[in-house]
């Protein structure tokens, strides 16, 4: 049975990737779990320089979800390449860097630094963080800016370029097409949904930043819908993200057209979930007599549409 997938020239031993911002720089989990069980790891968002991030409190639990405003606290790309990457490379898993910037030039510069560093498999371009005052959403909320950032990064690196799209837009397919036209190799869909949680006793937001980004199972149907829309809009592969905790959740994204998935908030709940999800995934493929996880990709039988399905009638 084949779980390996290839995506934008990156070979993943399985389709499960740890999502940016939920797995630190990977090394935090050394010794706690076997990092080689993951298909890949996306680093915490990195600018050129270190960042303090947002004021506290930074996280609030909500029904089936987590609202956060961390504000991209990070060590900066130079410290990552110098101090973390050599250690991380010892693990047999694909390493992707989440690239941040306050300007188009900064995105390109971070990408350039990554280009010269051995061991990085690809770049995820963070144009969708809702918790910073500049950058982030300014690029992800305007298709022309999305195009500009992706084109600049494309010009700065030979590595695969994977913009991470925001769900906080009216039509994600517009952004998917803008990114693809600018030279993106794949898309990550989606980042967090902007939310607001209020402490009714103090009548203040529960987060120090004010609003935050909602993640976890609460957003999964929205995420599946948007990943599905993006996958239909472009020919490049889509990586699905949003509330995955089980293989069934991951399969929803794969069936909707995603080539791989990222697991985010569930890492906080149980960092040891990867072997379990992979077992469940194998069980599903066996039950449906499929040899290759790629055989389920894009097999959604949507009302009124005809899709070729390898195993036919099951499910």
């Amino acid at each position: 049975m084949r779980l390996a997938v290839e995506l934008a020239g990156i070979r993943l031993k399985n389709p499960l990737i740890a999502a940016s911002g939920t797995f630190g720089y990977g090394v935090e989990y050394e010794g706690v779990i076997d990092l080689a069980t993951l298909g890949g790891i996306v680093s915490k968002g990195l600018y050129l320089e270190p960042r303090d991030g947002a004021p506290v409190p930074r996280i609030a639990e909500t029904p089936s979800g987590l609202l956060n405003a961390i504000g991209l606290q990070g060590i900066g790309i130079h410290a990552f390449v110098r101090d973390v990457l050599p250690r991380l490379r010892a693990h047999d898993t694909a390493l992707l860097v989440n690239v941040c910037g306050d300007s188009v030039e900064e995105y390109a510069e971070v990408a350039r630094v990554c280009d010269g560093a051995p061991g990085i498999a690809g770049l995820e371009i963070n144009i969708s963080c809702p918790n910073v005052k500049q950058g982030g959403m300014a690029f992800g909320g305007d298709p022309r800016m999305t195009h500009a950032v992706v084109a600049a990064v494309r010009g700065a690196t030979r590595l695969p370029v994977i913009p991470k799209l925001s769900p906080n837009v009216a039509d994600i397919s517009v952004f998917a097409r803008a990114a693809a036209e600018a030279g993106a190799d794949a898309l990550s869909c989606i980042n967090t949904l902007i939310g607001l949680a209020i402490d009714v006793e103090t009548r203040r937001p529960r987060l120090g930043f004010g609003t935050g980004g909602l993640s976890g199972p609460a957003i999964r149907p929205v995420a599946v819908r948007m990943a599905w829309q993006a996958a239909r809009a472009v020919k490049i592969p889509v990586i699905g993200i949003g509330g995955i905790t089980t293989a069934q959740d991951a399969l929803e994204f794969l069936i909707a057209g995603c080539r791989a998935v990222q697991i985010g908030t569930a890492n906080f709940v149980d960092p040891g979930l990867y072997p379990r999800v992979l077992d469940e995934l194998r069980g599903y493929l066996e039950r449906h007599r499929l040899e290759d996880v790629g055989d389920v990709v894009g097999t959604l039988q949507y009302p009124g549409e005809v899709v070729e399905c390898k195993t036919g009638g099951q499910g």
Partner: protein, 287 residues
């Protein structure tokens, strides 16, 4: 190294009201836990509430391969733990965080616990007594009902001074009242340790600073992951070689911090910096 595993509940003791002692099977935590460390734990495998919760380790028994938590059922996470049936499972990662450091030889350790913040001092106090170090526990709360561990601490042979704000048990007043009285009466090298409400820890930090003593506090912000990846539990702390404070993860760089280096809410950052510079540096043996 922390271990992540499914852990079964092997003991539960109700202490009255919302308070419980919960004992779980977990060989690695039982073997490796140090006073001041914590676990991230969640009852069962249900989706709600989403996150694990951090709890200080009250006691670890390497022989029985168990550890014990002191839990107050106040929200969905803690309530789910307290209603777990014997033999029921929890997902548990630990031991986590930086433990308390041991006091230098000949120094009296003063352990100040407020409410359920008393938990790590059962562990620390017992360990200090076991090695013949002088230690005294100051245990405070609003009322008698907030001090459910008092009998157990005394049964361990610990010297405990109780204080309640309503006077229903022990000294009438805040826990810092008997603490300062003791410090005035007993003239010997002392080190302070505090865990409890933020205002209490801040008060202990001020007392230590005023007397030129070292103090360690165990901070308790909301935590998402326990291993430094979510960056949700950061606190402002002035590092030894920093030009100014930095956000540090309470889960990995704490939860125990040098009280003089913490930038307390409402306190100016420059004052914390001055205190941190003035405070004696020490890299003691880990308690």
């Amino acid at each position: 190294m922390p271990a992540n595993r499914t852990s079964s509940l092997v003991g539960r003791e109700g202490l009255g009201g919302p308070y419980f002692l919960l004992t779980f099977l977990h060989p690695e935590i039982a073997r490796d836990a140090r006073p001041g460390q914590f676990v991230m734990i969640k009852a069962g495998l249900s989706a709600e509430p989403p996150l694990r919760r951090p709890f200080s380790i009250l006691e670890a028994s390497p022989g029985r391969e168990t550890f014990t938590l002191f839990v107050k059922a106040i929200g969905p996470g803690s309530s789910a733990l307290c209603t777990l049936p014997l033999g029921g499972v929890a997902q548990c990662l630990g031991p986590l965080g930086r433990p308390f450091s041991a006091p230098p030889e000949g120094t009296e350790a003063l352990l100040v616990g407020g409410g359920y913040g008393i938990a790590p001092f059962s562990f620390l106090g017992a360990e200090l007594r076991g090695r013949g170090s002088a230690a005294r526990v100051f245990y405070g709360g609003r009322a008698k009902a907030d001090l459910p561990l008092l009998g157990r601490l005394r049964a361990q042979g610990q010297d405990v001074v109780a204080a309640t704000e309503d006077g229903s048990l022990g000294v009438h007043g805040r826990v810092t009242l008997p603490l300062e009285a003791h410090m005035d009466a007993v003239r010997r090298p002392q080190r302070l340790y505090a865990c409890g409400p933020e205002a209490m820890m801040h008060a202990v930090a001020r007392i230590a600073a005023a007397r030129g003593l070292a103090a360690e506090v165990s901070l308790d912000p909301w935590m998402g992951c326990g291993v430094g990846t979510c960056l949700g539990c950061v606190v402002k702390v002035q590092g030894e070689s920093d030009a100014r404070w930095k956000y540090r993860c309470a889960c990995t760089e704490g939860p125990v911090f040098d009280a003089a280096r913490v930038v307390w809410p409402g306190e100016s950052e420059s004052r914390a910096r001055a205190m941190a510079v003035a405070a004696p540096t020490r890299e003691g043996e880990r308690a």
